[in-house]
């Protein structure tokens, strides 16, 4: 196969893929004349929902501190747990570092594969 054919195949499959993802996840956000809207507070994909309804588990980071972790199908979210009164991180040893506790998966509809080293 010539280099040009390979290249066009590559580009073509990339386009097909991105179109595919667009259809699944609704990437094409509305744009007016202003700067593009990059992200919104809703998941408009097949697993569509308002992001306020996400359910989180807890990931224990390597320092032993808690991070809210959410697997929402294609998207993943992480945000640190902080004590509502003092603002300090919450680092109680509920589990060893790098453990996940609770259910992090809001929409189990999309399975994904974690890259292995």
């Amino acid at each position: 196969m010539s280099r040009i054919t390979k290249l066009s195949l590559l580009v073509g499959s990339a386009l097909v893929l991105s179109g595919c993802v667009g259809a699944i996840e609704g990437v094409g956000l509305p744009r007016g004349d202003g700067p593009p809207l990059r992200a919104i507070g809703q998941d408009r994909g097949v697993d569509s929902q308002d992001l306020s309804t996400l359910e989180a588990g807890i990931y224990i980071d390597p320092d032993g501190c808690h991070i809210w972790m959410i697997d929402d199908g294609l998207e993943g979210y992480w945000s640190r747990r902080r004590d509502p009164v003092s603002g300090l991180p919450v680092c109680t040893p509920v589990a060893p570092p790098n453990s996940i506790i609770g259910n992090i998966s809001t929409s189990p509809g999309i399975r994904d594969r974690v890259p292995r080293l």
Partner: protein, 191 residues
């Protein structure tokens, strides 16, 4: 009280955001410095974690973004008040100007820590603004320690015990009622 404060703060933040938006929109002539090119926008939602604290969240298609919402003044997380497990008034818990628990205070705390069922507890002592800052820090620390001792005595795990003295008031110290509200011990449950 806490709930009201949070609400009015949120309303204030909304106004600030609006004002900032207006400023940016009219950046052409108003700003003395070089205009900043806006390359994109985000309309985030708010996700409230199980402790009641807010996080900005946005879905960019196949990317997801999230970050804790903070108070621009002091960097504190912005939280609804539903996970302060207990706020106990110090007048009930302690003898005046002392970290020694009253009989009823001790029994209330014993009952609380025996039934709350959290994995661990954070205990924060506060005073009103009478006496010196240094004295109040010390008194509130000793009071937090007294409460923590009760927790440990019933087998509860104490994650932290801190005395903030008069530095984190929830009410004005100009009235008796305000001062009484400020004399408190807050207990946060880590579930």
């Amino acid at each position: 009280m806490i709930r009201n404060t949070t609400r009015s703060f949120m309303a204030g933040l909304g106004c600030a955001a609006l004002a900032a938006g207006t400023m940016l929109a009219s950046s052409g002539g108003v700003m003395a410095q070089e205009a900043i090119a806006i390359t994109g926008t985000v309309q985030p939602g708010i996700w409230v974690d199980p402790d009641g604290c807010m996080h900005w969240v946005a879905d960019g298609g196949v990317e997801g973004y999230m970050e804790g919402r903070v108070n621009p003044e002091n960097g504190m997380p912005v939280c609804l008040s539903f996970n302060t497990c207990a706020v106990a008034n110090s007048d009930v818990l302690f003898h005046t100007d002392s970290a020694r628990l009253t009989t009823s205070g001790r029994s209330q705390l014993t009952q609380f820590f025996g039934s709350a069922g959290a994995f661990a507890y954070a205990i924060y002592g506060h005073t009103d603004s009478r006496a010196s800052d240094e004295y109040n820090i010390s008194l509130s620390q000793r009071r937090a320690a007294s409460v923590a001792d009760v927790a440990r005595s019933v087998g509860a795990r104490v994650a932290r015990e801190i005395g903030y003295g008069e530095r984190r008031p929830v009410a004005e110290n100009s009235t008796a009622a305000g001062m009484q509200a400020n004399r408190r011990v807050e207990i946060v449950c880590y579930r």
